[in-house]
Symmetry: C2
Subunit: 361 residues, 2 copies
DNA sequence: CTGTCGCGGGAGAGCGCTGTCCCACCGCTG
DNA sequence: CAGCGGTGGGACAGCGCTCTCCCGCGACAG
């Protein structure tokens, strides 16, 4: 008895401390259920067979003490966190240098996040949001990942030369991109068939009987912009319009306005416009109105993205729709699979666009 | 030697394992710097004075081994995670039952998150996004919080009867709401002076010489909707228009259309409309156009929110602006303070609205 | 010159969990 | 009936970190 290092008092103490010390632990459950911590852990995680009647007892004990696993402790040993980082770049205010940035208020981001959530929630994984505008931001992402602060990253960028994919691949971090990366990096991605989207717009405009068609492109160093334009031009050519006057914008409303003004100046007659995103399409409409032209009576306008701003404008903007939510869900699914099996090959999934016809065409 | 369970090889192994075993740990840094783990920890956290020259040595060691603290281990002992949950409810698709829900694609959420980020980033706290539509979702939030998965919650809800604030207060979790809670719960919040916003709209319309003014309100169980309307009505009364015909909508575009149709039917003459948010204002404009009325020549329209859909529509929507980003930043700041000092009193910060005049008035 | 205090460093005990190793037991086969 | 594989539970060693306790040492007052 005196040799016993743990006197009886300790046991009493322990059973009293059942829950006094804050959140109940595995230990507490084990004591109540009359089994070992390991068994409780097994029941919680379903990792190994446990006799049904013992499972019953353990579950009851869990319920009575109100046990919730401590994720920090768990991830300390499993090296898994159940969180992924959603990295958004190109979201900060544009007006700094008039470059390709899009405001974070762009509904696009909301839709993307919503889509990811659909795939993440059922797997009990939560997204943590991080911006990657500055070098410091990027370091934060990298270290969050190498910290074991998150298991992987979902990249949504609007830049063409984002260094992050490169960095992540080099660090061997699981990651998936939205849209094909501009530089060649071995990273999974989802994308829409941008060429097909451009072709859809061309076919629609020609079918509507338009003959004097122009285009407003995005910056040509962005693969998506390049593909939308060439898909559009190729389909126009196929339908007998080998030459489409084109001006480049940078995906902003303002650039849509000025691109349209340029086109109006250089072309004698215009009866249709294809813009590589909705914001620019809206800008183009503004410029057309200023020029005394009516949409769609005089000029048809087709955008790209099927964004809510387009849908809500009057008349509603005809637009090429990319299934953003589904694409984002797929991204999340690919990431989760990659996390589960890191040796998985890099994959990409391409979605087909559709055209949503509204009032402007 | 045979009795020695751990032969000398193990030691070599250990010094070789300096970094072989994955991420470098405090231990590794300590060995390189020739100090104890505790001292390295002190340098990293700046918790206690450490001799400058030792700090120097430790920092150098950290740099050479490329040490990054493991957050799981840290939070296991500190019971802090450096993450807060952003709970969004009322974001899921509306069309289920036509209720008050707003699509997650609403730029509003993006702006809110962006504002939060501004306050969170400098303090090295990351937001994790969670939806709270179903009971299961709410449980997830609660358990994430009691798990120690996050330190607090930022609530952005568009429902009037969200049970979550109640639950969080009861669980003693730090949390801050966007907009005053509908039910009386002792929780900090930020809000805009909705009454003043309504008054601003009234003053503007009367100053424009409008005399036959109507209003489209939000659901009156939402405090914000109530305040906007009564602020508007009171100011109208003060300026000689004691009676303002009013129809309730539910903050959606469609409800704006039908509310306006109702008003058009019941009022002989209308030359101005105040809608309690921009979506409904846009809907009202649609209905006015269908009725052959021009905006702003025949009817002035003022919305509320200064959302991007309003800003981008043609003509631009005049709207009462709430400084969403600043409000969200303030929310985050309050939450961070509450986490730092849990005994802090419940506080609320009210922001002043402004009116942004565009083409519709 | 000694007592005392404060400063700065080390040692060590966990935080709550998982996973490996081990062992008891059961039912089977030879 | 001994031997054997398989099943299911317990013990225990950490995961990487913080923090409390302790101790040595120099400065300073008595």
């Amino acid at each position: 008895m005196p040799a016993d290092e743990q006197p009886g008092a300790l046991l009493d103490d322990a059973s009293a401390a059942n829950r006094s010390g804050g959140a109940p632990t595995l230990e507490d459950v084990a004591r109540v259920a009359g089994v070992s911590r390991a068994t409780v852990s097994r029941v919680v995680n379903g990792k190994r067979r446990v006799a049904p009647e013992i499972q019953e007892v353990v579950r009851a004990a869990i319920a009575t003490v109100g046990y919730v696993p401590n994720l920090a402790a768990r991830s300390l040993v499993t090296r898994r966190t159940g969180a992924v980082i959603v990295v958004v770049s190109g979201a900060e205010e544009a007006h700094a240098d008039g470059s390709t940035t899009i405001d974070f208020a762009d509904p696009f981001f909301g839709r993307v996040v919503g889509g990811m959530l659909r795939a993440l929630r059922p797997r009990d994984v939560d997204p943590v949001l991080m911006l990657a505008e500055t070098e410091a931001d990027r370091q934060r992402v990298i270290s969050a990942l190498s910290n074991g602060n998150a298991d992987g990253a979902l990249l949504v960028s609007t830049h063409s030369e984002d260094p992050l994919p490169e960095l992540l691949v080099r660090a061997g971090m699981p990651a998936v991109q939205f849209a094909r990366p501009a530089q060649q990096v071995p990273m999974s991605y989802v994308d829409v068939a941008n060429r097909d989207g451009g072709a859809l717009a061309a076919a629609h405009l020609v079918d509507r009987g338009r003959r004097h068609v122009v285009a407003i492109s995005g910056p040509l160093d962005v693969p998506a912009a390049r593909d939308r334009l060439s898909g559009f031009q190729d389909e126009m050519a196929r339908r007998g319009h080998p030459w489409v006057p084109t001006v480049n914008g940078n995906f902003t409303y303002a650039s849509g306005v000025s691109a349209m003004q340029d086109l109006l100046q250089q072309e004698a007659k215009i009866d249709a416009v294809f813009a590589s995103n909705d914001l620019m399409a809206l800008g183009a409409i503004e410029a057309l109105h200023d020029h005394g032209l009516r949409v769609p009576q005089d000029v048809s306008v087709v955008g790209f993205d099927d964004s809510s701003v387009g849908a809500l404008s009057r008349p509603g903007l005809t637009s090429v729709r990319q299934p953003i939510e589904e694409m984002a869900s797929e991204m999340a699914r690919i990431l989760l699979d990659t996390i589960a099996d890191p040796d998985r090959r890099v994959t990409s999934v391409i979605f087909e666009p559709t055209i949503v016809v509204r009032g402007t065409s």
